[in-house]
C-alpha cells in the first residue's frame, strides 16, 4: 500500500484505517521508541501514546510537510524523549548515544525473537561500525547534523554524504533499490 492509499483510508478514522496504519508502521515505530526508552513495557506505553497522537492530529498532516512516515517518526521520537525527560530516566538525554540499535538485539531476550534477532544481527553487522553509529544518531535519535558531527567527531560538511553512503550500504544489504 502506498502512502496515498493509506492516507485516503486513515482520514476515515475507522477500524480498517487503524488496522492498516498499525500494520504498516507499528513495529518500526516501536523499534525507534525502544531504541530510546530501552524498556519494553514503557515502550509499549509510549507506542500507544504515539498512536493516540497520530489519530488525534491526523488532520493537521498534509503532504507539503513531507512524508507521512517522517511525520509519525518525529512524533515517536519526540514522545519518547518527552517521556525520558518527564520520568527523569536513568538514561539521561546526554547518554542517549551510549547505546545504539544494535545493542537492542543483544538485550532482547525474547525466545520467539531470538532466531530472528541472530539473522538480523548478521545483516546489520555487515554495516560499518561508523555507519551504525551515524544511522543510530540521525535516524533513530533525531540528532541534527551539527550534534552528530560533534558526537562522532567528524567534519560537519561530511555528515550528509557519509550518511548517504551508509544508507546506500543498508539498501544494498536489504536489497532495496
Amino acid at each position: 500500500m502506498t502512502q496515498e492509499e493509506l492516507l485516503a483510508q486513515i482520514y476515515k478514522k475507522d477500524g480498517k484505517a487503524f488496522t492498516a496504519l498499525y500494520d504498516m508502521y507499528s513495529k518500526s515505530l516501536y523499534g525507534v521508541i525502544y531504541n530510546l526508552i530501552k524498556d519494553r513495557e514503557e515502550s509499549e506505553d509510549v507506542l500507544q501514546e504515539v498512536f493516540v497522537k497520530i489519530w488525534k492530529n491526523i488532520d493537521s498532516y498534509n503532504e507539503t510537510k513531507g512524508r507521512f512516515f517522517t511525520w509519525i517518526l518525529n512524533i515517536a521520537r519526540n514522545t519518547s524523549i518527552d517521556r525520558l525527560r518527564s520520568k527523569s530516566h536513568n538514561n539521561s538525554l546526554k547518554n542517549l548515544s551510549a547505546d545504539n540499535f544494535v545493542h537492542i538485539l543483544d538485550h532482547n531476550t525474547s525466545v520467539t525473537n531470538k532466531i530472528d534477532a541472530i539473522g538480523i544481527k548478521e545483516f546489520i553487522n555487515k554495516l560499518k561500525p561508523k555507519c551504525i553509529k551515524l544511522i543510530d544518531l540521525l535516524f533513530f535519535k533525531g540528532y541534527t547534523q551539527q550534534e552528530a558531527s560533534e558526537e562522532l567527531e567528524i567534519p560537519l560538511g561530511t555528515v550528509k554524504t557519509q550518511n548517504r553512503n551508509c544508507i546506500s550500504e543498508l539498501r544494498n544489504i536489504l536489497q532495496v533499490q
Binding site: 478514522k13 477500524g15 487503524f18 516501536y30 500507544q48 507539503t64 510537510k65 538480523i120 533513530f140 544508507i167
Partner: protein, 263 residues
C-alpha cells in the same frame, strides 16, 4: 545541480529522517513533485529505514494492537464531521469535569484551612512565649518585692527617715538598715521623678569629718516598686540623696541634695 548530484548530496536521507529545516523541506517536496527519480529515491530510502527499525524492534505482543485499537476507535471515532450526542458519555464527561472542579476547590479550601491553622498555631505559640516572659518577669518582681518586704519586716532592721531639703522640701525617702544581714535598702517612693538625663545617687555619710561615700546610683526610680538594694556601708551615720547627671558623680552635688537623715 542535476538530479544525480542532488540525490548524491544526501539531502533526501535527511528529508526522510525529518532533520531538514522548513525551507529545505519545501525545496525537496517541490523537487520530488517535479522529478520522478527524486521521488523514487525518497521511497527507497524510506523503505530501507522502515525495514531497519522494524527489524530491530523487540517482539510486539498482539495485545497491543487490541489495546490501542480500543482506545482509538472507541474514544476518537465519534466525530466524522457530525457531533453525536451521547447522553451517558456526555454526562460522565461533565461529571469528570465537575469532580475535578470540586476537587480543586476542595484542595484549595484544605490548603487554606491548613494555612490558617498553621498561622493560628504560630500566633498561639507567640502568645505563649509572651506570657511565659511576662510570668518570668512578674516572678522576678515578686521575688524582689518579697525580699524588700522581708528586709522591712525584719526585727533587726532599723528605718532611717530622710527629710526633704531646700530644693525639694516636699520630698522624702527611707533607708532600711539591717545590721545582721549587713544590707541596706532605700525607698525612693517619696521623691519626684528626676528630669531626663538625671539620676538619684545615694550617699552614706560619716559626720566628723563629713565624708560622703556613694552606695548606689538609681537610674529608674520607678522600677522595682521604688525600693532598691544599695551597697552596705558599716558605720554610716547619715544618708543623703542627691540629683546627679546620668551615671552618678564622684562626690555629691550639695545644691541638689533632695533628702537627708541621720541614723
Amino acid at each position: 545541480m542535476n538530479t544525480e548530484e542532488y540525490i548524491a548530496s544526501g539531502i533526501l536521507e535527511l528529508y526522510v529522517f525529518g532533520l531538514l529545516s522548513e525551507s529545505e523541506n519545501k525545496e525537496v517536496n517541490d523537487m520530488a513533485h517535479k522529478n520522478e527519480a527524486v521521488q523514487a529515491e525518497i521511497l527507497s530510502i524510506e523503505k530501507a529505514v522502515i525495514n531497519l527499525s522494524y527489524s530491530v524492534a523487540p517482539h510486539l505482543s498482539a495485545a497491543n494492537y487490541e489495546k490501542i485499537r480500543q482506545q482509538l476507535i472507541d474514544k476518537h471515532n465519534n466525530n466524522n464531521g457530525v457531533v453525536k450526542m451521547e447522553p451517558k458519555r456526555g454526562m460522565s464527561q461533565y461529571m469528570g469535569w465537575a469532580a475535578a472542579v470540586i476537587l480543586s476547590f476542595g484542595l484549595a479550601y484544605q490548603y487554606y484551612q491548613t494555612d490558617e491553622a498553621t498561622k493560628e498555631i504560630q500566633s498561639a505559640n507567640a502568645k505563649t512565649s509572651k506570657y511565659e516572659q511576662l510570668v518570668a518577669s512578674l516572678e522576678q518582681k515578686n521575688n524582689q518585692a518579697e525580699n524588700a518586704l522581708n528586709v522591712v519586716r525584719d526585727n533587726a532592721t532599723s528605718v532611717v527617715n530622710l527629710a526633704g531639703q531646700e530644693v525639694a522640701p516636699q520630698s522624702y525617702a527611707k533607708v532600711y538598715l539591717n545590721k545582721n544581714k549587713r544590707e541596706i535598702y532605700v525607698d525612693l517612693a517619696g521623691l519626684p521623678t528626676p528630669p531626663k538625663g538625671k539620676v538619684y545617687q545615694v550617699w552614706a555619710l560619716k559626720l566628723d569629718p563629713l565624708t560622703p561615700t556613694s552606695i548606689g546610683v538609681i537610674a529608674d526610680k520607678n522600677a522595682d516598686y521604688g525600693i532598691f538594694k544599695v551597697d552596705n556601708n558599716d558605720g554610716a551615720q547619715a544618708f543623703g540623696i542627691t540629683l546627679e547627671p546620668a551615671g552618678g558623680s564622684p562626690s555629691p552635688t550639695m545644691e541638689q541634695l533632695y533628702t537627708l537623715g541621720k541614723v
